[in-house]
């Protein structure tokens, strides 16, 4: 007995997913689905426009995409297995490399899950620092999207402009966290170090620099007829389809559903700052582009408010069993030395239980599910990557469009293969 729903029937009738294994696709004697008219083409995994190592098997009728199948796994790193070997303090280095365009979000989801299991409270300043850094990371991730989206559509100069702004944000990250990417800065208990002196000036410089540059992008792309022709009406998805396929983030919002975890199930202190949730109307690639462009502006608004309200205080929980002592104290106190030693060799033990915590990453709902058995390493760690679910919308977005539209569609879905394959 299989119960089904209207939306499921609708998706099945659309028949957009190519059900063919890789072995079948190369076997010469297996007939194709519609042998005379269509052909099976392979795109990727090494391809300039597939945003990493995504492979697409496309069934083409001339130039039109009839069915497609995303083949993933070319970046499978066994991170969930490795995560079981690493202590909770080391876990951040592992998860941060999943969504490598927005690494601080991975760390945030992971740290929030560990803190939920530990039952510790994170100090105010740490929470606001986390908000500051993740919103800046959202800006840098969306700039990456704008750059790659522009290049895929053909506005190659956008690639250079987007990276120009991104460099400034990464410069701030390097100053505060020590690294341009994969920071391992948001850790269970707070953040790894306090903000540097003069951070307000640096952030203000960013906030002053960005708006005129965003205006440049509007001139270069938004109003431009070719851009509109390439993106409007391309890759359309309906709200019901998006929900049924597990899509979240800009894809879901482009259909008109105002679902943003920062607003609906607030974490950190998002309920204390004012920002708008950007929503589209038509569910096409242009909407997704415009949503991300305007989310940069909303993130800047949030950053400005965080700058005003940043309290003084600790940047990490003062729980000796969890957070390492400051380096200076190790010389003075034997206890501090022992705690430092235990935390970095054994790791701190986390009470038994299982939790799932989700944050709103630039790609959608990024969740972390941790099962703890009371020891110093997670028993099971699973990251719910937004791009893994978002990629399931790809066959439905590409169906009926041309191959070049397919490139625009992949770009608007903005997958990061590191988190898809883990």
């Amino acid at each position: 007995m299989s119960r089904t729903l209207p939306i499921v029937d609708h998706l099945a009738r659309r028949d957009a997913v190519l059900r063919m294994t890789e072995a079948e696709s190369i076997a010469p004697d297996v007939p194709g689905p519609d042998d005379d008219r269509t052909m099976i083409m392979n795109m990727g995994p090494q391809h300039p426009s597939t945003h990493g190592v995504l492979r697409l098997m496309l069934e083409l009728d001339g130039e039109e995409v009839v069915r497609s199948k995303p083949v993933i796994g070319y970046l499978h790193t066994g991170m969930e297995k490795t995560g079981e070997q690493l202590s909770y303090l080391q876990g951040g280095t592992n998860v941060t490399r999943m969504d490598y365009a927005a690494p601080l979000f991975n760390e945030l989801a992971y740290s929030l899950a560990v803190e939920e299991l530990l039952g510790i409270e994170v100090p105010e300043r740490a929470t606001w620092i986390r908000m500051l850094l993740t919103e800046l990371n959202r800006i840098s991730s969306h700039l990456l999207f704008l750059a790659t989206n522009g290049m895929d559509i053909g506005a190659v100069s956008m690639m250079i402009y987007g990276w120009r702004e991104r460099e400034e944000v990464l410069r701030f990250f390097e100053k505060v966290t020590g690294l341009r990417m994969n920071h391992n800065f948001i850790r269970p208990g707070g953040v790894a170090a306090d903000l540097t002196d003069g951070w307000r000036d640096d952030v203000q410089a960013l906030l002053d620099m960005l708006p005129p540059r965003l205006e440049e992008y509007e001139i270069l792309m938004t109003g431009q007829p070719i851009w509109r022709e390439r993106l409007q009406g391309v890759g359309v998805i309906s709200p019901e389809e998006a929900i049924a396929l597990g899509a979240s983030g800009p894809i879901l919002r482009s259909t008109g559903i105002a679902w943003d975890l920062r607003r609906e199930t607030p974490y950190l202190h998002y309920d204390q700052v004012e920002f708008d949730v950007i929503v589209g109307t038509y569910g096409d690639c242009f909407d997704r582009y415009a949503i991300r462009l305007n989310e940069i502006r909303e993130s800047m608004r949030i950053v400005a408010q965080v700058m005003e309200r940043m309290p003084a205080g600790d940047y990490r929980a003062q729980d000796k069993k969890v957070t390492p002592p400051p380096r200076a104290r190790i010389d003075e106190s034997m206890e501090a030395l022992i705690h430092h030693f235990k935390i970095f060799t054994e790791g701190f033990k986390v009470p038994e239980g299982e939790v799932y915590v989700a944050v709103e990453s630039p790609r959608g709902e990024l969740g972390c599910y941790i099962v703890s058995d009371g020891s110093a390493t997670p028993y099971r760690i699973h990251v719910r990557a937004p791009s893994f679910a978002n990629l399931q919308t790809l066959p439905y977005l590409m169906q009926g469009g041309f191959l070049a539209d397919g490139v625009a569609v992949i770009s608007s879905v903005d997958p990061i293969m590191g988190e898809v394959d883990r």
């Binding site: 995994p45 090494q46 994969n182």
Partner: protein
């Protein structure tokens, strides 16, 4: 007057508008200066590779901003990121499709040795699949380190050291460089 006198004397001693030089030097010089990379960005290192191609670090000044999608048109494969078991055959296939002379830079620790992922899924170093000429450490190596690797490669091509090392090892040249990121003072990279 020979080509080799140019850096010192400029065009002063030029007789009859004729420059002489060895074919071998000319070939090596041109190979080093127009090295076109194949797009092989896999993971986080790919983002830093794109940053190196962008305006701030600008690989174009070294003749390298044209990332060729087709391996037939590429000289250099920068393996940027972790290579999974599923990707390894693809890597070898792209390498085989490149035309001689071809060079390989292994960018980042995951490509050089498996990095922090010593498990069932990641090939522990791409030198198990393709011969590597320069290893660039870092996780990810910043644009300065990648430029250092590229300029080292260019210099070794130009002096002929790379081919000599390859002949010696039977595989790649295996030059290891150190990481040059995050420094306050002005950097000197490459071998000049």
């Amino acid at each position: 007057m020979g080509v080799r006198d140019l850096p010192e004397h400029g065009l002063e001693g030029l007789d009859h508008n004729v420059l002489t030089g060895r074919i071998e030097d000319l070939v090596r010089w041109s190979r080093a200066r127009s090295c076109w990379p194949a797009t092989f960005g896999l993971a986080c290192c790919a983002i830093e590779m794109m940053a190196t191609g962008a305006a701030h670090y600008d690989m174009a000044r070294f003749g390298m901003e044209v990332f060729r999608a087709s391996p037939r048109q590429a000289d250099l494969m920068i393996v940027a990121g972790r290579v999974s078991q599923k990707m390894a055959p693809v890597l070898r296939q792209i390498y085989d499709q490149m035309m001689e002379p071809k060079w390989v830079i292994s960018m980042g620790v995951c490509a050089s040795s498996g990095g922090m992922f010593n498990n069932y899924a990641i090939v522990q170093g791409v030198d198990q699949v393709v011969p590597v000429d320069v290893y660039a450490p870092g996780c990810p190596p910043g644009p300065e380190t990648l430029l250092h690797a590229i300029l080292t490669l260019h210099h070794e091509i130009e002096t002929g050291e790379l081919l000599r090392r390859r002949a010696e090892s039977g595989g790649g040249a295996g030059i290891e460089i150190d990481q040059r990121d995050g420094q306050q003072a002005p950097l000197i990279i490459g071998r000049r």
